[in-house]
């Protein structure tokens, strides 16, 4: 029986970590992820988990210790945000390149400067090429569900890759919402006993991790790593099906909302998708055929599936809560790449919204949808990339 609770996003994810019971967790506090790890540290202190909690002097050390523990042969988790993730940067690539299934909730926050502690997606988007799988979550419930599934995805014997579970800082991490928790035994059975692959602590079979790989082999290792990412989609879908059996909640590579017969649509990640769905409903009430696509698996990006879901549209706005200075937003880049190969492409625009925790309001979605309606009438795109909700 599910337990229905009122919890913050951080609380929900800490509960998921308690139920999955990692062997090792090395973490360093950073707003807004601090409270997540603080709650988990209480579980450790109270003997509610078997986890060895390692307190380190920085996030670089946190990820390094996680890498060591995962190479040793343990189930490993940590959590971070923003500058913490940025400080982990070189170790992120080592975790992925060494194929270590470390699970890391990332409570999304902007990157300095100017210094800001509030939610946007700059941190995780900066790490999108590191080789980690990325699952994005609209609310606390999805963050909880994604964290539990992340263990099973990352630890899958065909995958063995680290996974980031992204949730919006403060908007989700510190807001209380209704959530349904699974029973401890259900989670335990679902994630199963941790299976090792070439663990370093198997001392009867000595091995070396992290060798120097020169130009005669490096290219081959990267090609092999790419091959693994091609298998992730199917594993994510299989595990989502299994998860639905115990939770009743359905997950895919992305969520579509009133998209099938839509003519215009928004593509938007995480918490702002919730606000946007309300506005989609309003427009539908006015007889305007609007839909929405919310990516869940952002890395590896499901190009073909996203293209199939969007190709019938007349116009799309891809909303980015992260900027690429001098470039288009990261979600826009992926969606336009996905649709380039479609014969009759929708018109596409990119809006940058909500940086540094700036509120995303229904009127922002309304403004964007009105512009899309205009584009379908005139077939004229005024500007491709634009900032919304910004003072002149």
């Amino acid at each position: 029986m599910a337990r229905i609770v009122a919890v913050t996003g951080n609380e929900a994810v800490a509960e998921a970590l308690r139920q999955t019971n990692p062997d090792v967790c090395a973490a360093y506090p950073i707003t807004p992820a601090t409270d997540l790890m603080q709650r988990f540290a209480s579980f450790v202190a109270n003997g509610q988990v078997d986890t060895e909690l390692i307190l380190v002097e920085s996030e670089h050390s946190a990820m390094s210790a996680c890498i060591g523990a995962a190479a040793g042969g343990g189930r490993v988790a940590t959590a971070t945000s923003s500058q913490g993730l940025a400080l982990m940067w070189e170790m992120l690539y080592i975790a992925a390149g060494t194929r270590l299934p470390i699970i890391m909730p990332v409570v999304n926050r902007s990157l300095s400067a100017p210094l800001n502690i509030h939610g946007d997606h700059s941190d995780a988007m900066g790490a999108r090429d590191s080789g980690w799988i990325q699952l994005w979550s609209e609310n606390g419930q999805e963050a909880y569900d994604n964290t539990i599934q992340a263990f099973k995805i990352g630890e899958h014997m065909d995958i063995r890759l680290p996974v980031m579970v992204c949730l919006d800082g403060f908007i989700i991490s510190h807001s209380i919402e209704r959530a349904e928790y699974l029973e401890d035994s259900e989670v335990k059975n679902f994630v199963g006993e941790y299976k090792t692959l070439n663990p370093l602590l198997d001392i009867d079979n000595p091995k070396s991790f992290g060798p120097l790989i020169l130009p005669d082999l490096f290219h081959e290792y990267k090609r092999a790593q790419h091959e693994v990412t091609t298998k992730v989609k199917d594993v994510v879908l299989d595990i989502a099906k299994e998860f639905e059996k115990i939770s009743g909640r359905k997950y895919g590579l992305f969520e579509t909302y009133r998209l099938e017969d839509a003519e215009i649509a928004l593509v938007i990640l995480n918490s702002a998708a919730g606000t946007s769905k309300d506005v989609v409903d309003e427009f539908r009430d006015r007889g305007i055929k609007v839909g929405l696509l919310k990516p869940r698996l952002f890395r590896p990006f499901p190009y073909e599936e996203v293209a199939d879901a969007l190709k019938h549209l007349k116009a799309i706005c891809v909303m980015d809560r992260a900027d690429s200075s001098g470039g288009y937003g990261p979600v826009f880049l992926e969606v336009s790449s996905a649709l380039y190969h479609v014969k009759k492409r929708p018109r596409m625009i990119n809006k940058i919204y909500g940086l540094g925790g700036r509120d995303y309001l229904p009127q922002h979605a309304e403004q964007v949808l009105e512009e899309l309606v205009e584009i379908t009438k005139t077939d004229n795109v005024r500007i491709i990339k634009e900032y919304i909700g910004v003072r002149e």
């Binding site: 390149g97 070396s208 290792y221």
Partner: protein, 97 residues
């Protein structure tokens, strides 16, 4: 040695065979070569102890000839060699001279 294709690699570049450094011959890096002068050798075996690779051979507890396949020419053995009466038992000479 036939180089492996991408389908033949271990996940994460983990090396499963212990002690395979012996397959990696580093002698070709060498610019200076150590020469052992037996008459100045007091058999202290400092050279064997300090050698960072496996270039110093020991036979029946006594210093033997170099295995130059594993000598990078770092010069540590020559530096540490106490020699006999101020005469070094190991000297470095430039390769190709």
């Amino acid at each position: 040695m036939k180089l492996k294709g991408w389908k033949e690699l271990t996940p994460g570049a983990v090396i499963l065979e212990a002690g395979n450094a012996a397959e990696f011959k580093t002698g070709s890096w060498r610019a200076f070569k150590p020469i052992w002068i037996e008459e100045n050798c007091i058999q202290c075996l400092f050279c064997w102890l300090y050698c960072p690779d496996m270039a110093i051979k020991v036979k029946d507890g006594k210093r033997a000839e170099y295995d130059y396949d594993y000598c990078k020419g770092c010069g540590i053995c020559a530096m540490e060699c106490p020699g006999k009466k101020g005469q070094k038992a190991i000297v470095m000479v430039e390769e190709g001279r």
